[in-house]
Subunit: 556 residues, 2 copies
């Protein structure tokens, strides 16, 4: 059965048709972990190579360049000690000589170290000679205290699925990998409070919660490998933010270890606790620069019984905004996603995949709307009323409604397939931005115009740029601006930067909506934060990590 | 029309009756501001008098005792300068000689200063000689810088509706009252982002949002007078937390002034912004001890079209937990309140008001459930299915469903009337606590048993204690434990403290769920926070306010 088409002529049929078009998947299955990783990966701004070019999509063939070569301006801080066998001995005595310590100091262990030294995008590569895997908070405390006392720099590492080079070393920092701390500590079904070790994999927790009829309030492509501790340390946004809000609201408690070995025992399970400064918030999005999160307590909502997905074509960004406003109003408590894709992004997906488009004809804008609720009939009714409204008022030009889970996945693929398809021609310049909603799409238009005026966009090999597209999480004001190119080109780069950052700065937007700063955006924070804010942040860093051993060369 | 009764015999009739029992008030009107203030006031633990007794309910007849007399152990810190006419001159030149400065230094202004020196509960009273009312963030900056440079202590003051003595001076601290900064700066209808001056009154903002079909994500009794800046500074919880979450999740940006005059310009309007430490979080619940909030940006949800209220009797706390679990599951996205009242609390309300009880017979526990949603019919259907379930499974013993807004208010009065009614016999010992849900009610039982065994509870004048009751925000794990007494009594006090604080500490609960620390709970923080956490908090205070001029003698 094809998805239910909602063209004006068929609209009455849609409304008259029988009720049970709702769907009852217990949860939405999207693309595979591998695909999702791709999409996440390519929402990342490009990184300059050492030779001034830019790296494109990850390639497993290619040798990974050392970060120290790509960023020659970053030099190893001589204040840090060089690792010695004596140091390694300490860690072996503490953690055992088994797999909890990967020792590249007293022996050659390059192959074993490789996965901890480089990121999965194959963009960043460090020179570490030592990986330690603590098995308890106490272990972490002893490891950090020793490192701090001995001026040994460290990199906290979770699932190593980050997008900004934050979780791999630059030079010889010791990797503190949290994978051994992966226990679900407890769950209270009445309050929905889950307590986990930081190294617990997001998907493991979500599967556990599914059996308890709850969900983790965060979902993202890398769920199969990312650690909850890493999610919290990077304040991951993801797919459920529109509905369930950010980790700053959902995380109830954090257990973390400070560089001097102090255990910050703030693992509250309480929704309300107004007894002093909420210091744990500094660790949410702190990117492992002031301590290592070892435990997380988080409130988890009830799992929804029903999921519906609709896909629309619209004629202008004004109509998109109107549709979003009306969706918030009419779908209100069941709205769980409102995604934007522009016409050019869908054209390019179509050119690459050659799949049948969900809608006939072409439209300047497309939206994907998802609802999740506790009563399938009610959700369908609300969605129908909404569809009737947006079609009747001609807010949307055309639309389809998924009839089953396969169709849900198919519609999502037109949104989630964008990043991968854009890489088809060569490299992609990518920006992950927060912009006040009314101006969200203007950046795409301005950038497209700018590149076109510069004579860089065209259909033949002479022109480096294939297209300038915009898509993203409309519901979170989060735009992915992507410039698909045939090759990385200095001219294109000069047109894009600092133009885009300046454009964002003028509108008080964010140069990193959800991926964090890491190594990639450290240099650009000034476009999103004032000198005052940066100074205050540096104060915090200095307060907690006066020796600067935590994740050096990154963040602020 | 009486509320629809749901006794088992009438249950079928309820289910068979016609649909439109839903209600369409645009928002729920509860008790008047005056009443609400009462209820808020009396959710506060008692304060010891200087003579070791305790103060009861606010009394406008009674002269307010100076805090310096009630707490003789607190002495004025001699490091702070004494106010001089020269100082006052500076403020007059800065803010004008009009009503923006109340000068009790160069003239007698005791009457004018009185409302700023004392709290509305008439529990705390300071000795200030100067109130300044800045009109802009720049004013606040200049005022604070001057105070910091001249070692003049200050108290930031919003609507002065706090419950822990945090917003009035203890000695001669200068009151910086924010009431002149009361503008709604802007609202974006598409994203629902509201930006206001800190001195904007909560109800004013909520009325403004009502016209825009949105609501402020926070609601509380003092809404008619409290400032949004004060709400944020105290991390107010209130009635909407179960549904919309805490201010740590909803506040998008804060503009604040640090003691040295630095303007922290972090007034982001973005839902996602991962560019460095989220420093504004320290100001949420910071109680004016590290700076003064001057502006707030907050995300506001769509306003619900329908509100329903049901009221149940249940036979045990296990059944209450089961009802809550099932309400979360079945009412899910429309559940907006789940309030608990024990049988004794309702008996006492009945004895005082002599109003007809909502349910026939008596029950050990009562619950009030509120739903809010976008579709009245759907909400009613969900609520009916839920009622069918909890009645059919005998989870609840009896129930009524409000048929109109008057009945909604009437049912709420059995919950919101508790604090006022408990004061009927004399004084009330009150505790506002967070406790992990499974053990939430056990504290009431343990306390009741303890006082009974001590021979303190009885029906005649010989016994000081009238009753030990528990009620509160079940959905937030927030218990109000109240001991209604005929008189304040040393023996009762000895049985209650430190017993209750120790009981809370053992279960990792919170001694202040939503009211904050202020002066009242400064001494007790150790029961909810470890020495490590308190040390880390003091570090933060020292970092931002090295001279200690901000709201001294309070918080940590």
């Amino acid at each position: 059965m094809p998805p239910l088409r909602l063209t004006p002529t068929l609209f009455n049929r849609f409304l008259a048709s029988s009720r049970p078009r709702h769907l009852r998947p217990t949860r939405l299955l999207r693309c595979s972990a591998a695909q999702a990783r791709w999409s996440s990966a390519t929402t990342e701004p490009h990184q300059p190579d050492a030779d001034g070019g830019t790296q494109g999509a990850p390639s497993s063939q290619k040798q990974i360049k050392y970060t120290s070569e790509s960023y020659p301006e970053i030099t190893r801080d001589p204040k840090f000690s060089e690792l010695s066998e004596k140091h390694v001995q300490f860690f072996k005595e503490l953690l055992g000589a088994g797999s909890a310590v990967i020792d590249g100091v007293s022996q050659d262990a390059a192959d074993d170290l490789e996965p901890f030294n480089s990121d999965w995008m194959r963009k960043y590569k460090g020179h570490t000679k030592l990986v330690v895997k603590p098995g308890s908070t106490e272990d972490v405390s002893k490891v950090l205290k020793y490192c701090n006392d001995n001026m040994l720099a460290v990199v906290p590492q979770g699932g190593n699925s980050g997008l900004v080079g934050g979780s791999v070393p630059v030079f010889d920092e010791i990797v503190i990998n949290m994978s051994r701390m992966n226990t679900i500590r407890d769950f209270d079904e009445v309050s929905g409070t889950l307590v986990v070790d930081a190294g617990c994999i997001l998907e493991v927790a979500d599967h556990f919660l599914a059996e308890m009829d709850h969900i983790f309030p965060l979902d993202l492509g890398a769920k199969g490998s990312c650690h909850i501790g890493g999610n919290v340390a990077t304040n991951a946004g993801g797919l459920r933010l529109l509905r369930y809000g950010s980790l700053h609201g959902n995380v109830l408690g954090i257990e973390a270890v400070l560089p001097d070995g102090t255990v910050m025992d703030d693992l509250s399970r309480l929704r309300k606790n107004n007894t002093g400064f909420d210091i744990k918030q500094l660790f949410i999005g702190g990117e492992g620069t002031i301590g290592i999160i070892t435990g997380v307590s988080i409130q988890c909502p009830q799992r929804s019984k029903a999921t519906n997905v609709a896909f629309f074509g619209l004629e202008s960004f004004e109509k998109v905004q109107q549709a979003f406003r009306d969706a918030k109003k009419q779908l209100s408590e069941i709205l769980s996603a409102f995604e934007l894709m522009d016409g050019q992004s869908q054209d390019l997906v179509h050119r690459v995949t050659d799949k049948k488009r969900p809608l006939e004809g072409q439209h300047p804008f497309y939206c994907l709307i998802e609802t999740s609720g506790s009563n399938p009939d009610h959700d369908s009714e609300k969605l129908e009323a909404f569809l009737e409204h947006v079609m009747g008022e001609e807010i949307v030009s055309d639309g389809v409604l998924a009839q089953d889970e396969t169709q849900i996945q198919s519609l999502w693929s037109w949104r989630e397939g964008i990043p991968e398809c854009l890489g088809h021609w060569g490299g992609v310049y990518k920006y992950d931005l927060s912009i006040p909603l009314p101006e969200l799409y203007k950046l795409v238009e301005d950038t497209r115009e700018r590149l076109t005026l510069a004579g860089l966009v065209g259909d033949d090999e002479k022109h480096p740029v294939v297209g300038v597209v915009g898509y993203g999480h409309m519901g979170d004001s989060n735009l992915h601006l992507n410039v698909a190119t045939r090759r990385f080109d200095k001219e294109v780069e000069k047109q894009l930067e600092p133009f885009i950052y300046e454009w964002i700065a003028k509108r008080n937007g964010s140069i990193s909506a959800e991926h964090g700063l890491g190594l990639a955006k450290k240099a650009y924070i000034g476009y999103s934060r004032s000198e005052t804010m940066i100074r205050l942040m540096k104060q915090i860093k200095e307060l907690y990590d006066p020796n600067g051993i935590m994740n050096p060369y990154k963040y602020i």
